[in-house]
Structure formats: structure tokens, C-alpha cells
């Protein structure tokens, strides 16, 4: 029943699209925005939500006559995960995309009353093109409401890896970020057509950029935390294609944000802003293509289907060509050129950092797509590993961090460095500090000292500004401060992490110079849809301190999968992390024990970064 309602509302929502397009075109030449349009946009959103609720309800009531429910649910799955199962699969997640698309355009129309009418209508039209594309995609290739007859009495179950609180809310938040960029895309195209790339546009679109950037940051953070405790590798970023695919729009968004700041102030960099707006959404779509088509080998597995891949690919390139043509035909270049930039000014430093960010973006893009190119051209199968990214990104972090510290100190247009002395003083302090620390560690001295120095520099300067500037420019300062905190935590996490991997039988003990791990035994526990095997380990450190670690193995009944749950003891300084794996037909267990310093600071600083975005969102205007 719910499934049927969902199916029909989806189709009604689709037909409303044409109504909206018809109304909008009729309304183009009129002076006032027709209320009919806003109503129909609302109704489209309403029906898509209804359709989505229909799917969620089918999941809750375990209605296995629905193919999607049958494939991704089971009566024994806890209700919370039945609900999250609704978007934990290809079909449902696309419906969620569509829901966010319609929600955002509705909000856009409500929140853009002060903007020119023609621009609003055109944004709506471009957004409808995207929405229609997604409707066709959903209904034609991946309908979530396919009916199975005869009705099976049990579903195939939800992948246990997805039965996790962080991963349950990760997709919606990430999609808010991805899809939010569609508004930026549509409105940038509309602004180009109406020749409305101006500081008032920049002020207006900045909110949307911030919104989607905040959600994207939180989405990436959640995914990363999940990978940390669920995948059992003890890391938080693996340069996996799926992670890269979310990082690319993030980089594009943050670059775009900085450009709009310049545009808002100085009416320059207009072409940058337009290109980046287009690029952001294109990268989000490109990510969807890479992940959903199965073209890349990645840890996320959606049901692969070449028809779907082909559809997204064609749709993606229609959008790309459309935006290229609009850009070439309508875009009028700015009168003031790059020449008017003075070398020492805020805009120059922003521009320079944008170049760095574009460089990081290209590195990630090339690393992610290179295997596809090579396979097509030479049919060699390859993968690009973390060393590639580390090598190309880390050295360039140094000037990047320095510019992040000094840039905000500069004034617009033309400036002179004030307080040169204090800036140099801080540089010396951070240099001394990092030399002192790095010398006591057994790592490569030169490169790490330079890296840590620049991170400390940004850290100290922004810290000082909290006090001296009295919360002026709070969001900018907090964002830069948290970024330095993030980099510092990652660096020291890398330097100081230790790891022990060994195979133990029950009652055996592992011993080395600094600690002793004693495998005391295992016990069993039955849960609703899995059995847990809990290991008990006593870790004795040389200092006399002991920890009891209890990592878990979970054996799910449907589908029959084993997952391991790490036991993590978190303190402010370090995480102690242990996972246990069984090896088939063997009495040995594979044990991994890690001490990871400052893990919580990595999460915290990323959270602060998105918080600073939120502060920026509620602030009236960019100061200074």
C-alpha cells in the first residue's frame, strides 16, 4: 500500500515538473513571479516527500512485495536500521537525492525574494532540468517501487556493515552537501544568462555555498569516523575513490567560497566564480557516476548496472555541454582585469591559495580517474595508492599554510604588512617549537620540521587573533585555526602511532619491550540479528598501567556476514584501538592493537571547521 502511494506520488511529482517548466516559460517576460510557480514547486516537493515516506513506510512494515525492501531488509533488522536501509541502497538513495533537489529549489524560491525575477525563474528552470533528469533516471533505470510477485515471506537482509549509527545518517547529510551544489550550479548559469554576476549575487549565493559546504564537511567527517571504527584498519582516510569523490567537490566549494568573498568586495574573479560553480556540481555528479556505475573498484558497492552508468554519463555530459555553451555565449568578461591586482593584498593571497587548492583538486582528480584512462588505453589494471597523494600534496601544504596565516592580515586592494615584527617573531617561535619536538622523534628531520613549523605558525597566529581581534571575523579565524589544528593532529597522529599485529590463541601472551598482551578468553552473546563473540584481552604497559580491551566479532544471520567491532578507548591524548578477526578453520585469532595519539582532535577540529561555516552563515556580511 505504502509502496503504491510512493509509486504514484513519484509519477505525480514527475508530471509537476512539466507544469513548472510550462509556467516558468510563460512567466519569463512578466514582471512579477507568478504564485502558481511557487505552489507547484511546493507540490512537487510534497509529492516527492510522500513518495520517500512511502518507501520508508514499506521498509518499516517489511513489505517484501517491494523489490527494494526485499533486497535490503529483513524482519529481524532493528527498526532504526530498517529506516536507514531505505536510503542505504542505490534506488532509495536516488530518491533521497531527488527529495533534496526539490526541497532546495523550494527553499531557494522562498529565500530569494530580493533577487531579480528573471534570475529566479531561470534558476528554477535549470534546476528543473536537473530534476527531470533525475526523475527519468529513477523511474526508468532504478525504480524503488518494483513489485515482486509472488511475495517472498522474508527479505535478503541489510548489509551488516551498514547497520551502524554513523553510517545511517551519513548518506542524507552527504547528499545535502552534494545536492546543495546543484542550486549553486543552476543559479550561476542563470546569473550568467541574465548578466547578474555581481556583488549582490555573491552575497546571496554565499549562503548556499556555505550550506552545502557545511553538510559536505559533516558528511565526510561521519564517513571517516565510521571507517575508523568499523573497517578495522585504524585509519581515517584511505584515498579510496569514494572518499576522493567527496573530497573533490569539497575542495571546489571552499575555493568557490573564497572567490565569492572577493567577488562580493571587488567585482573581480567573476569567471572563476562561474567556472567553480559549474565545476562543483559537475564533480558531485561525476562522483555519482564513478561510484554507481561500477567503473571504479572501490570499497562501496552499489548494485552495478552498466545501463545506469551510461545514463548518468550521458546526463552528466549534457549538463557539462549545456553549461559550456551558456558560459561561452552569455558570459561577458569583467572590465577590470587581473592587472589591477596589487601583489600584496587580500585578493592576491586568496587567488594564490585558490591556485593551490585547484592543484590539490587536480591531484585527487587525476589519481582517481587515471586507472580508468589507463585501462581503456592500454588495458592494464592498476590502482593508485596513498603514496601518490602524500607525495604530491604534503610539500605544497607548507606555502599553503603560510598563506593561510598571512592572507587574512592583509587588506583589500593594496596593503602593507602591519606588525611585521610580530609576524616574524611568531615564525621564529614556531620554528623553535617544532625543531625541539621533531628532534626528539625518530623521523625525517628537514621536511617534517618545515611542515610542523608552518602548521604551528598558522595555529599560533590564529590563536593570537582570537584575543587581539575580539571575535571580529570569528568564522574565518575559527576555520583557519581549526584547519591548523587538523593538520597538526594528523601530523602527530602519523608520527606517534604505534601498531602491533599478531596471531594469538586463547590464553597465549604476546610480549615486546613496552607491553604485554594477554588473550584471556572469549564469550558469546546473542543479539536481535547477530551473535557476538567478545574477546577479552589484558594489555599491560611497562609503566604498570593495564587496560582491558574487548573487541567483538559479530556474526549476522541474514545475510551471513562476519564484521568486527573495534574496541576503542578514547582519551584526550590518544586512542587505544584493538580489533580481532577470526581466520577460517584456525584456532588463532588475528589481533591488531594500535595506539593512535590525538585521534579525537582530528574529529573535533573537522567539526570546528564546519561550525565556523555555521557562524559564517548567520553573520550579516563579510567584514573587513
Amino acid at each position: 500500500m505504502a509502496s503504491l502511494i510512493g509509486y504514484y506520488s513519484l509519477n505525480i511529482g514527475f508530471s509537476i515538473s512539466f507544469l513548472i517548466i510550462f509556467f516558468s516559460i510563460k512567466n519569463l517576460t512578466k514582471s512579477k513571479l507568478d504564485n502558481k510557480i511557487i505552489f507547484s514547486v511546493f507540490f512537487q516537493f510534497f509529492f516527492v516527500s510522500l513518495s520517500f515516506l512511502g518507501l520508508v513506510q514499506s521498509f518499516i512494515s517489511s513489505d517484501f512485495s517491494n523489490e527494494t525492501v526485499f533486497n535490503h531488509s529483513h524482519t529481524t533488522v532493528p527498526t532504526f536500521y530498517k529506516i536507514s536501509g531505505a536510503w542505504g541502497n542505490h534506488e532509495g538513495s536516488l530518491l533521497l537525492w531527488l527529495l533534496v533537489l526539490t526541497l532546495f529549489i523550494f527553499l531557494f524560491l522562498l529565500r530569494s525574494n530580493d533577487q531579480p525575477k528573471k534570475y529566479r525563474i531561470l534558476t528554477l528552470l535549470f534546476q528543473q532540468i536537473i530534476i527531470v533528469g533525475f526523475f527519468v533516471f529513477l523511474i526508468k533505470t532504478s525504480s524503488p517501487f518494483n513489485y515482486i510477485f509472488p511475495i517472498p515471506n522474508e527479505g535478503l537482509g541489510l548489509n551488516p556493515i551498514l547497520q551502524d549509527p554513523a553510517l545511517a545518517i551519513h548518506p542524507p547529510i552527504l547528499y545535502l552537501g552534494y545536492v546543495g551544489s546543484s542550486i549553486i550550479f543552476s543559479s550561476a548559469l542563470a546569473a550568467v544568462v541574465t548578466n547578474y554576476i555581481s556583488s549582490s549575487w555573491a552575497k546571496h549565493i554565499k549562503k548556499w555555498i556555505l550550506t552545502s559546504w557545511i553538510f559536505l564537511t559533516l558528511g565526510i567527517l561521519l564517513g571517516s569516523i565510521w571507517a575508523y571504527y568499523e573497517l578495522g584498519w585504524g585509519g581515517f582516510w584511505f584515498w579510496d575513490p569514494v572518499e576522493n569523490v567527496s573530497l573533490m567537490p569539497w575542495l571546489a566549494l571552499i575555493t568557490l567560497l573564497h572567490c565569492t568573498l572577493v567577488l562580493e568586495k571587488k567585482q573581480i574573479l567573476t569567471s572563476w566564480v562561474v567556472i567553480l560553480s559549474i565545476a562543483t556540481f559537475t564533480l558531485s555528479m561525476c562522483g555519482t557516476f564513478l561510484v554507481r556505475s561500477g567503473i571504479l573498484n572501490s570499497v562501496h558497492t552499489f548494485a552495478n548496472d552498466p545501463e545506469r552508468g551510461l545514463y548518468i554519463l550521458i546526463f552528466l555530459f549534457i549538463l557539462v555541454f549545456l553549461s559550456i555553451f551558456i558560459f561561452l555565449f552569455f558570459y561577458k568578461s569583467e572590465k577590470t582585469t587581473i592587472n589591477s591586482l596589487f601583489w600584496l593584498s587580500k585578493e592576491t593571497s586568496i587567488l594564490i591559495n585558490n591556485w593551490f587548492m585547484m592543484y590539490f583538486l587536480s591531484v585527487v582528480l587525476i589519481g582517481t580517474t587515471y586507472p580508468i584512462f589507463l585501462e581503456v588505453l592500454s588495458s592494464e589494471k592498476i590502482s593508485v595508492g596513498p603514496p601518490f597523494y602524500n607525495k604530491l600534496i604534503i610539500p605544497f601544504l607548507v606555502p599553503f599554510l603560510l598563506a593561510m596565516a598571512i592572507g587574512p592580515k592583509l587588506k583589500w586592494i593594496k596593503s602593507d604588512l602591519e606588525n611585521k615584527l610580530s609576524l616574524i617573531l611568531f615564525l621564529i617561535i614556531s620554528l623553535l617549537l617544532s625543531t625541539f619536538i621533531i628532534r626528539n622523534l625518530d623521523i625525517n628531520f628537514l621536511i617534517n620540521t618545515i611542515l610542523v613549523t608552518s602548521a604551528f605558525y598558522l595555529f599560533l597566529i590564529t590563536l593570537k587573533d582570537f584575543f587581539s581581534k575580539k571575535f571580529k571575523n570569528l568564522s574565518q579565524n575559527l576555520a583557519h585555526f581549526s584547519f591548523s589544528l587538523l593538520i597538526l593532529s594528523i601530523l602527530f597522529n602519523n608520527f606517534l602511532s604505534t601498531e602491533i599485529i599478531t596471531n594469538l590463541k586463547i590464553n597465549e601472551t604476546y610480549e615486546n619491550d613496552s607491553l604485554k598482551i594477554n588473550f584471556e578468553g572469549i564469550e558469546q552473546r546473542d543479539e536481535q540479528n547477530f551473535k557476538a563473540i567478545i574477546g577479552k584481552f589484558v594489555v599491560e604497559h611497562n609503566g604498570g598501567q593495564t587496560d582491558i580491551m574487548q573487541p567483538e566479532l559479530r556474526i549476522y544471520n541474514q545475510p551471513n556476514i562476519i564484521t568486527s567491532e573495534a574496541d576503542i578507548k578514547t582519551t584526550l591524548y590518544k586512542d587505544k584501538f584493538m580489533t580481532m578477526n577470526s581466520v577460517q578453520n584456525q584456532e588463532y585469532f588475528n589481533i591488531r592493537y594500535q595506539v593512535k595519539p590525538f585521534m579525537i582532535w582530528i574529529w573535533l577540529s573537522t567539526f570546528l571547521i564546519s561550525l565556523s561555516g555555521l557562524i559564517g552563515f548567520f553573520k550579516k556580511r563579510y567584514e573587513n
Binding site: P150, P152, S293, I295, N304, P306, I372, V376
Partner: protein, 172 residues
């Protein structure tokens, strides 16, 4: 001049990327059900149901004989309905019935066969459902009549009296 080079090269680059992605999509190792009548049957490697040994499909489907490849599962209700027809067909001398146990648990499947008798000459396991996808199956049950490595007839859904007669006619 310069103003034209830029857009043209941009469009060329984008088109090249499109073509590469398109090609990449084609050899992207995804399961492509390309099956229609008169095409060679897809080969696969799978475990035997009882012994769990790994078999290649070529070893089972020999050239000249008729085979009925039947996709079934213990949880599928219509599979029960068609079972009597399969038992009927198992008496045919020139037809071998090969089962493909789709997304099933061994225990349930064994119970199912004990209860209703086993019409199959050989059963493959398809625990993850990938073989059924490669064969282009729409669901369970589904049956393929094979001869000389070609699909002679495809029966979507349970076998009934009509399709039973049709199969008997075809194998004569």
C-alpha cells in the same frame, strides 16, 4: 583567433573524456546480462550444491543433450507449484535437469528437496545471485531449455501444464 581556440579545445577535451569514460564503462567488469535466444550460454564457475566442489559450467553442459536449467530457491513459493512438473520432466530420458539454487541457505534448500523430492540431476549454488544475473534471469523461478550450448527456450516464472507440453515437444 585566440578566442576560438579556447572553446574548441575545451569541447574537444570534454568529448575525449566522455569517450574514455564511455569505453571504460564498457569494459568495466560489471555483470552484463546479454542473453537472448540462440546465443551461446554464459559460462560460469560455481560450487556444487551437495559437495561444495567447484565446477565449471562447461563440464556439466555437454554439447548434444537437452538440458533444463532451472533457477529455484526454497523461499520462493511458486517454486513449490512448479515442482511437480519438474518431477514429471525428470522422467524424460533425453533431458537433464540442472538446478541453480538462488540466494538460498543450504539447510532450507535441503529440507525443501527432502520434502518434495529431488528432480535435479545436478545443482549449482548461486549464493550471491550473480550467475542468475549473468543469465539474464528476471527472478525466481525461471527456466532455460538448452541444446548445443544455445538457449532454445526461456520460461519466465513457474513452469505450468502448457510449458511442460512445449518442452516435451521441443526435446523430441
Amino acid at each position: 583567433m585566440r578566442t576560438k581556440i579556447f572553446p574548441i579545445s575545451l569541447i574537444i577535451i570534454v568529448s575525449v573524456i566522455f569517450v574514455i569514460f564511455y569505453k571504460g564503462l564498457q569494459n568495466s567488469n560489471v555483470y552484463e546480462p546479454q542473453i537472448g535466444n540462440q546465443k551461446n550460454i554464459p559460462v560460469f564457475i560455481a560450487k556444487a550444491f551437495e559437495t561444495e566442489e567447484i565446477f565449471k559450467s562447461e563440464d556439466i553442459f555437454e554439447g548434444d543433450k537437452f538440458y533444463l536449467m532451472n533457477i529455484w530457491s526454497s523461499w520462493c513459493a511458486p517454486c513449490r507449484d512448479e515442482h511437480k512438473f519438474l518431477l514429471n520432466l525428470s522422467n524424460q530420458k533425453n533431458l537433464k535437469i540442472i538446478g541453480l539454487n538462488y540466494k538460498d541457505k543450504k539447510k532450507n534448500a535441503t529440507n525443501f528437496l527432502n520434502e518434495l523430492n529431488n528432480p535435479y540431476d545436478f545443482i549449482f549454488n548461486d549464493t550471491d545471485g550473480t550467475i542468475a544475473i549473468e543469465w539474464g534471469a528476471y527472478g525466481v523461478p525461471e527456466s532455460f531449455l538448452l541444446h548445443k550450448n544455445k538457449i532454445v527456450k526461456k520460461i519466465i516464472g513457474p513452469i505450468d501444464q502448457n510449458s511442460l507440453l512445449e518442452i516435451k515437444e521441443l526435446i523430441q
